[in-house]
Amino acid sequence: MRNLLPIFTVVGLIVAVWYAAVAPMNIRSALDQLERSDHAVVPAGALERREVSVWYLLVNNPNQIAVTYDLERSRLPTPTQIGYELWKSTGEMLLRGKAMSKRSLLYHGWVTLQSTLWGFFLGTTVGVMGAIFIVYSRIVELSLMPWAIISQTIPIVALAPMIIVLSSQIGIESRGLPKAMISAYLCFFPVLVGLTKGLRSPALSQMDLLKTYNASSVQVFFKLRLPASVPFLFTSLKVGIAAALVGTIVGELPTGAISGLGARILIGDQFGNPLAIWAALFAAAIIAGILVTFLDLLQRFTLHQMGMRV
């Protein structure tokens, strides 16, 4: 809690810089717009204005600066505008009973969240299986681990359009599965590495103790290795779910998807509507925050129940 004041200070600083940046970013388009509606601007003419710097424009048009904070299609919208857009496309829709309409971010967020959770589930399963195989088999470790590392240096976005084309040609119509595969691809690696580390974390003396108890390897796994790996597992799950969300949004971006937050970003770009892009970005940030916080609380609860110190 002692971090709250510093956090709010830094957030305040960022917001202040943001507001300060809005005027120079938007002044050109604001003046163009004003001139078209017959207001006097200095210097007149779009070509003349292109020759001078934004600071010159700001100094010479002090009365028009207020307009830059209220543009409909600005290069940099203010946080207030984004907040209002977010509210319009979530809360207001909900109040009007249209939470699942195609224009509601709740609907698009839900689509993205579903894919993210499927991808997370898939990736975690692959990661957990892989980690168990790697801990128990040297040959699997030697043949798989280098490829797992290389797989993460491959930019998945290069593969994303391919995965979607492939799965649609094989006959999978829904867009959910390919997106989930992409997010699973990004998500499995942190789980694999974290859990491998965790399963190997028991000390030699602890392993020896179980040997003196004549414990079978299944017993060693469930009574020592698995409990010891839980803190590692939760840390990598938090990284994994953030990666899964990135994967889903990347999967929605280049592929002409029509629903999901990534698709909102794409559509906002194609229709020249920056507010829609920003609102979708903030919605994605909120989802990421909720997911990571949820796993964090789950981690605290689980470790507390297991008698470990958090």
């Binding site: 002692r2 200070t9 030697l142 490829w147 491959i154 920056p274 990421a288």
Partner: protein, 278 residues
């Protein structure tokens, strides 16, 4: 199918034989085993595509991809220059320098650092790629906008890791510098920055992949008529899938080499660290 089965049996047996405890320490074995495994996967891909007559529009065989790769080297080189050298690398360097610089400056104020660290951790987990269309709109279609996306993407992971690294010295070490009458700058250059290097390189290694992802994704939102992201998105539409796969090979290769170079530099810089001892 019989050949396929044969390949897996011989490859598996070969790997089992190589993984014997006898050769535990041999480094060459650690290299050969994954290569054998990879070759097995490649041969099965080739055989399966040939066996089931998969249309090259859906999934080309590795040999077809290799052929396209050789035939269109000039296109691939142009795309590589545009995306990797101009977009990803310049963005990576700017982002890394700015992030490490910010960490060093903010590090002097504990208050700011306590605020920036949780925020940086949070932002590092966000899908920042989504900012690509906005930055392409701001900085135009050429590589400058791609570099800008890469700067934003690599900034936070490197910042957070640098922060952690700058705190990695313990009080005994700092006291020693104090007894030497070392000033702030000397302590920074001789003790804290070197001690931070393993952490910083951790961030840099994460950032290599992010840099390539950022550079490729932002090309989906507008680029000159070259670049790996441009070629992939148009190639999928134009059904020149073999060229797309060739681009993927280039992307995978440059990603791995980029990462490998970082590992090599890390070995040279942090040779003293326990994880680097042979």
């Amino acid at each position: 199918m019989i050949i396929l089965l044969l390949v897996w049996i011989t490859g598996g047996l070969l790997n089992l034989w190589l993984a014997r405890p006898l050769w535990h320490k041999k480094r060459i074995v650690h290299l050969i085993i994954p290569i054998i495994f990879g070759t097995m996967v490649m041969i099965s891909w080739e055989l399966l595509v040939k066996e089931f007559n998969v249309s090259p529009v859906i999934l080309p065989a590795p040999t077809t991809i290799a052929q396209t790769f050789i035939e269109s080297t000039d296109i691939l080189i142009a795309d590589f220059t545009q995306t990797v050298l101009k977009g990803a690398l310049s963005g990576f360097f700017i982002g890394a320098i700015v992030a490490i610089g910010t960490a060093v400056i903010v590090d002097r104020w504990l208050f700011l650092q306590r605020g920036l660290l949780p925020i940086g951790n949070f932002v590092a987990a966000l899908p920042i790629v989504g900012i690509a269309p906005i930055l392409v709109n701001w900085f135009g279609f050429d590589w400058q906008s791609k570099a800008a996306v890469v700067v934003v993407m690599v900034f936070f992971p490197i910042l957070v890791n640098s922060f952690q690294g700058l705190r990695a010295t313990n009080s005994i070490q700092r006291d020693l510098m104090f007894t030497y009458a070392a000033g702030y700058l000397q302590t920074l250059l001789k003790l804290r920055l070197p001690a931070a290097m393993p952490f910083i390189f951790n961030g840099l290694k994460i950032a290599t992949t992010l840099a390539l992802i950022g550079a490729i994704v932002s090309e989906y939102f507008g680029s000159p008529t070259r670049g790996m992201g441009f070629r992939i998105s148009t190639g999928v539409g134009a059904l020149t899938i073999d060229l797309v796969w060739a681009e993927i090979v280039v992307a995978a290769f440059s990603g791995s080499v980029f990462f490998g170079i970082m590992v090599l530099i890390e070995r040279k810089v942090t040779f003293w660290h326990p994880s680097q001892r042979q």
